[in-house]
């Protein structure tokens, strides 16, 4: 993938990711997150991870964010009214986040392989779906089953949680 496209999608991801945090309107936040995820999916595909990239769109943009929007609209969460901002707490939060960012910067700059480019792949059309599937059902069979049980438990939990208590 050309650097030009990489930077476009990287900027898209980061800017809309920041918009999630900055926006006061929850719907705008959710939509920014969708765009950010789409950019991220493009980055995945630039790493020849087509399956992961498309699953990202399918699960996050297609299902999770629709759920978010559904809840936002159902609860009718409007733009938050301007509350008195606790400047000290906000500054603290920003400072911690910035510290984390600087830390990550430093780690990456010290990390030797980070300056290397990606090695070339043998063919342009590798079947990553088949490879991931084979791995999933052989080496990671047990975790896969456990995740299945987890999703089942989550489903039951969600049904129980969102069930209205009968008015007595």
């Amino acid at each position: 993938m050309s650097p030009f496209l990489f930077w476009i999608f990287a900027l898209l991801t980061v800017i809309f990711g920041a918009a999630v945090v900055v926006n006061r309107n929850p719907v705008a936040s959710a939509l920014s997150l969708v765009v950010s995820f789409l950019g991220l999916s493009a980055l995945f595909m630039s790493l020849d991870a087509y399956f992961v990239g498309i699953i990202q769109v399918l699960v996050y943009a297609g299902a999770v964010m629709v759920l978010f929007l559904f809840i936002i609209m159902l609860l009718n969460l409007r733009t938050e009214e301007e509350r008195r901002i606790n400047w000290l707490a906000s500054a603290g939060g920003v400072a911690v986040a910035l510290a984390l960012l600087i830390q990550i910067f430093l780690v990456i700059s010290r990390f030797e392989p980070a300056r290397k480019t990606f090695p070339p792949l043998p063919g342009s059309s590798i079947d990553d779906v088949r490879n991931i599937g084979a791995l999933l059902f052989s080496s990671y069979n047990l975790p896969f089953q456990i995740v299945g049980v987890l999703v089942l438990v989550a489903t039951i939990g969600v049904v129980l949680l969102s069930k209205r208590e009968p008015r007595s």
Partner: protein, 354 residues
Amino acid sequence: MDSFFIITSLLKIVGILFVVILPMVSYAVYAERRVSAFIQDRLGPNRVGPAGLFQPIADMFKLLLKEDFTPRAANTFYYWLAPCLAVMPAIITIAVVPFGSTLFGIPMVIADVNVGILFVFAIASLGVYGIVIGGWASNSKYPFLGGIRSSAQMLSYELSLGLAVVPVFLVVGSLRLTSVVGYQIEHGWFIAPFIGDLANPWKWLLAIPMIISFLVFMIAMFAETNRLPFDLPEAEQELAGGYNTEYSSMKFALYFLGEYAAMITGSGVIVTLFFGGWHFPGIPDGSHGWIFGLINIAVFFAKVAIMIFFFMWVRWTLPRFRYDQLMRLGWLFFFEIALVNIFIVAVILTFARP
């Protein structure tokens, strides 16, 4: 990635979009009106041009010249964004559908990716944003209800949609849509086992779960494209048009365009998965001459047209489902059927690969 590839890809995109899909959308609207009229013993639009064939052009002018009205209470930015979001996914989906064999040695598919069907689902699932955002941004009751309904409906039916095609890929062994077509050319269409080698009994056995799979997929596709038995987001009688109530002029037309484009691409996917794509028994593929390549494309779109007719036929026959019925049907009926169907196919495949 040479310039030849880029130029042919661009030609394919422009050709398929502006020469085939967009005219097909406008004529699908015309066909819908004619078919509905014929089913109801009327004549339908027959004034503009011979047999009313220029009606789409007249419609277009009418919609372009109408007042483009934005409600005062609407959230303007999202109100404008939503119709665009409704059209885009429907059109992008066609990129992975093989609409022909080869023409002058160029494969007639815009992007032959190895996650083909997942791409279709992923992009199709983005279509709901146009409706939800449109309903929300209108800041009006009925559109809002339409948008909410739409999001819940999409979430429920996406599952059946995805699970219904798993049997196909169990048999084919690849998510690539061209492989699906290739398999069907070799072994006969999934839904019609009488095409291809007749003697194989496993193929006949496999056809039963395939037909179930086809039915579930098609019904989920009805829900996904908001066509009539499941058109709860727009429900004219109860929601006064649903999510597009507040839209007028070209923005309304874009919603319309999106709905019909989704119908066309959905039909294209159904044809590719279950009806052998561009294949028709007896017609060789494009490597035997460009004329056959063109015939293959024509065969594909003829199949799509038949599928679209079926969509319309169902729309003007069946009444709309109630919302709770729709949910029950999606979660308690089709979901289970699709799961059991996968199991059946897996069992068949374990004992014999046809």
